[in-house]
Amino acid sequence: MHRRFLGLMGGLAAMIAVWWALSLLVPDGFIPAPDAVGLRFLVLFPGALAAHSAASLGRVAAALALSILTAVPAGIAVGRNPVLGRILSPILYVLYPVPKIALLPLLMLLFGLGDSSKVLIVFLVLFFQVLVAVRDAAREVPPQFLLSLRSLGGTRRHAVLYVLAPALIPAILSSLRIGTGTALAVLFFSETFGTRVGLGWFVMESWMRMSYVDMFAGILCLGLLGLAVFVGIDSLQRRLCRWQADPASMAT
């Protein structure tokens, strides 16, 4: 714990030092100094920024929940059923690399400019990430586990509940961790359309006003939002994967 805390502090100090150097080197105040941004953040956060963060976090959380609820069962089906796997894997390989952001105009046409199209675009990014990870992990569950379960009288439902779900949790969480970076980028972009709440809107609006300090306070807030999601995933992993040799990850 102590060591992890020291590591976190060291990393933060290095980041602030680089930021500070850049703020001095880049002319015209395009990059405001960390202390100015920090102060602005403290002023803005209790009011406007908190509301924007809550809106963005709500969208990410909805997309995370939706992707787990759909991609996990789908991944188990594709991974454990050879026929489904053969039929669906090629389709998956065509759809997976398509940049999901390219679908944003279509989603906005179909679902409007509101929250649903924003949640859906983030969901699409996460869905494929989780689906592929779950499919691969589901294929590799040692058959001995399933034999043992059947010998204890377990049915297919028990196999999902007591073998597949616990065996897949590490893969699900690490795919979420990988997907969250892209998901936040896509969320940011989608929030520049048709909304006046969300960190994406806040950052772009500050930029239009040429208020670089506000803009960076928004960016800082985005970073912290990402950190919050990662810390959440890591603490879930620590709680759910105590059975693993080294469940703690590096992020916190």
């Binding site: 001995q144 043992s148 010998s151 204890l152 009288g153 049915t155 028990h158 616990p166």
Partner: protein
């Protein structure tokens, strides 16, 4: 009584067993010994109802064995325990699947865990246990369901010599204390002779029964050091070498 009559089995086009007949009498331990690849594990899968024979029949007390048969418990060499469950949850799992109420589950699990000498380890995960301790949990889990027949696939082959002997002693004692019969598959002749009332030798590929040995002196811990023990081991080894040479 477990009866396999003229059972054959195959994986796709590859035959694994060819017309194998053997039986395990009530309350007795039968050991199947044979080289790798002779279909020993397949034989257990048939007895557990987890694989259907391509020919022949598997009967227990005259009735066909089915997948997940309540009368049968199975202990595998590795991966038998679920690493994501604690010792207690592993032992309780079969009872939970059968819908036993929580108090009953806890009570049975505590009793079985204590019987294999692991009281106090209930909350540990399998990775925190030694190989021998893990296999003890496997034994506790199988006995928790009070099976009439216990099937074991190379249960001790991954253990060091001392742990293996102490687990063999535990199994010998358990088999004497309980009413269940046991079918144990192993590649170790000494293990088969120490534990089995009857020893079946499997040979060839696809596997078939090459011989059957009665082992009347089985049942005491001293047997391991007696001349009869070594004589029987020698006889079985002779048969196996003869089969291998053909």
């Amino acid at each position: 009584m477990l009866e396999l009559s003229e059972c054959s089995a195959a994986y796709g086009s590859r035959a694994a067993l060819s017309s194998v007949s053997l039986e395990v009498d009530d309350g007795r331990t039968a050991c199947v010994v044979g080289p790798s690849g002779c279909g020993k594990t397949t034989l257990l899968m048939l007895a557990a109802g987890l694989k259907t024979p391509s020919a022949g029949m598997v009967l227990f007390d005259g009735k066909k064995i089915a997948s997940g048969d309540r009368r049968v418990g199975l202990i595998l060499q590795q991966y038998g325990l679920f690493p994501w469950f604690t010792v207690r949850d592993n032992v309780e799992l079969g009872l939970r699947i059968r819908g036993a109420p929580p108090e009953e589950r806890h009570c049975i699990a505590a009793r079985e865990i204590a019987r294999v000498g692991l009281a106090g380890c209930e909350s540990l995960f399998p990775r925190e246990l030694s190989g021998g301790q893990q296999q003890r949990v496997g034994i506790a889990r199988a006995y928790a369901l009070e099976p009439r027949l216990l099937l074991m696939d190379e249960p001790f082959s991954a253990l060091d010599a001392l742990s293996r002997e102490s687990l063999q002693d535990l199994l010998l004692l358990s088999a004497q204390e309980r009413e269940a019969s046991t079918l144990l598959v192993t590649h170790s002749i000494e293990e088969a002779v120490y534990l089995g009332h009857v020893i079946w030798v499997l040979a060839g590929s696809p596997g078939r029964v090459a011989g059957r040995f009665e082992n009347p002196r089985q049942g005491s811990r001293e047997y391991r050091r007696e001349p009869e023990f070594f004589r029987l081991c020698g006889d079985i080894r002779g048969l196996m070498e003869h089969e291998k040479a053909q």
